[in-house]
């Protein structure tokens, strides 16, 4: 039986892990290689490295970070943040990434999803959707959450799947860094609309939040950052808790 995945996210700026609240107020959380090593020992299932500056100068720093993390862990590694072209994706994959996560670029040029899926397979292409509640629906935002894309998250997830995306990484901007719990309604709406796995992100604060997003939210995987970075909770404690509550996980 396929287990539910727990994914640690490392938001990286200038080679260091940082974490904000609702995409603002960044603070330092440590060295990416060291954090990845700790998570691996604790039983994390995957690691995502998000380059949150994604400027031209940070590109080489990112390759070094990917390489440093890939030396530490023999687990699936996703890289996202500022991947705008086939060349950017190739550089990340050559540095040791198994998957790339597309966000703004996928909305701007959806054919990039198809191009990368043809070259590396759908399993290597994640479409990341940053969304927040707007009226009765869920609106998509781009450019690190600063720009309203005027798209509906459920509709965009369906289109991303038809273009060749292998997974959807769905972040609730309302919940990001708040530790108030995942947006289970939004996650369930997207998960019901697509046949590919959905990774829920934004809002993890307690172990119950994970149980909720795997049951009510119908997520295939859950991603968190803050809860793990500051050693508030260990991945192994979380997984034991989930198993006790009937959620299949790898121990």
């Amino acid at each position: 039986m396929l287990t539910k995945r727990i994914i640690a996210c490392l938001d990286v700026r200038d080679g260091q892990v940082v974490k904000g609240v609702q995409f603002q107020q960044l603070r330092h959380a440590g060295d990416p290689g060291a954090l990845a090593r700790r998570y691996n020992v604790e039983g994390i299932d995957e690691v995502v490295v998000l380059d949150i500056t994604a400027t031209l100068e940070s590109r080489q720093a990112l390759a070094r970070t990917i390489n440093a993390v890939a030396q530490e862990i023999f687990l699936p590694l996703t890289v996202g943040g500022g991947i705008r072209s086939e060349e950017d994706a190739a550089a990340a994959i050559d540095a040791g990434a198994d998957k790339v996560s597309l966000n703004t670029a996928a909305l701007k040029s959806p054919e990039l999803i198809t191009t990368l899926a043809r070259r590396y397979g759908s399993q290597a292409v994640i479409v990341a959707i940053d969304a927040k509640r707007l009226g009765d629906g869920f609106g998509v935002f781009v450019r690190s959450g600063t720009t309203d894309a005027a798209r509906d998250a459920v509709e965009w997830a369906r289109q991303a799947e038809s273009r060749g995306a292998g997974e959807i990484l769905l972040t609730s901007m309302d919940r990001d860094g708040t530790k108030a719990g995942f947006d289970c309604e939004m996650t369930a709406a997207v998960s019901d609309a697509v046949d590919i796995p959905v990774i829920a992100s934004g809002g993890a604060g307690t172990f119950d939040h994970f149980t909720d997003v795997f049951t009510r939210g119908r997520a295939d995987a859950a991603l968190a950052a803050s809860i793990f970075h500051y050693a508030e909770s260990s991945v192994s404690d979380l997984k034991r808790y989930l198993r006790q509550h009937g959620i299949p996980v790898r121990l």
């Binding site: 539910k4 691996n40 299932d45 023999f74 687990l75 040791g96 399993q123 290597a124 796995p197 995987a221």
Partner: protein, 214 residues
């Protein structure tokens, strides 16, 4: 010396890193002659079966003749699928054909929320506890999968995995081995399977072999 075959299909970097971490003596051959002298051959790969078209011709011939001369071969993911006769994913492309059967699309079962691609950690259900790749592991070991196509359960299947349908996750026949999951991405369990293959090939460096004996 292990020959790690580069045909442009994905996960070469991660397999290379795992082999380096294990202390394996390996090369990424630029020409097909290396296959005959290799102590083992690894065909990695992720993605579409059509990518294996790059192996048609000289590489396919060289690998087939090395394998019939007794060189151990390990196919990973797409590399395992290539060991079979062909795949419904790209019917026009010929597989190596050293294991009988054909690769088919995985089934989904949306009522049970079993999706395709099959992505994530799932269990190996051993069908043969004495399989050489399973030294140091127990049935139920969790490994990382990411694929939409898979091999049927046939006589060569030494471990199967259950999704909407049950498929062959590890095959073994004489000196030929295939794993549908990614050992280079499956944490300690995956590294142990790669180490077991290196042991079959006799390619562990003395230092690593000694560390393992302790």
């Amino acid at each position: 010396m292990i020959a790690l075959i580069d045909y442009g299909a994905g996960n070469l970097t991660s397999v290379r890193k795992a082999l380096t971490a294990l202390g394996a003596d390996f090369t990424i051959p630029a020409s097909t002659d290396v296959c005959a002298q290799a102590s083992g051959i690894i065909v990695p790969g992720v993605g579409h079966f059509a990518a294996t078209a790059a192996l048609e011709g000289a590489w396919l011939q060289a690998i087939r003749s090395a394998v019939s001369a007794g060189v151990p071969l390990l196919g990973i993911c797409l590399g395992m699928q290539w060991l079979f006769e062909g795949s419904d994913e790209a019917p026009e492309v010929e597989g190596l054909g050293v294991i009988p059967g054909r690769i088919g699309r995985l089934q989904n079962d949306l009522e049970r929320r079993l999706k395709v691609p099959h992505v994530g950690w799932n269990a190996l259900d051993f069908r043969s506890s004495g399989a050489r790749l399973f030294q140091g592991l127990s049935s139920g070991a969790q490994v990382y999968f990411t694929h939409s196509y898979a091999a049927p359960v046939t006589v060569e299947c030494v471990a199967s995995t259950a999704h909407a349908n049950t498929f062959s996750s590890v095959v073994e026949r004489d000196n030929i081995f295939g794993v549908q999951f990614h050992p280079e991405k499956s944490g300690d369990a995956g590294l142990q399977i790669l180490r077991n293959f290196l042991t079959v090939c006799g390619s562990l460096s003395p230092k690593v072999a000694a560390a393992r004996a302790c």
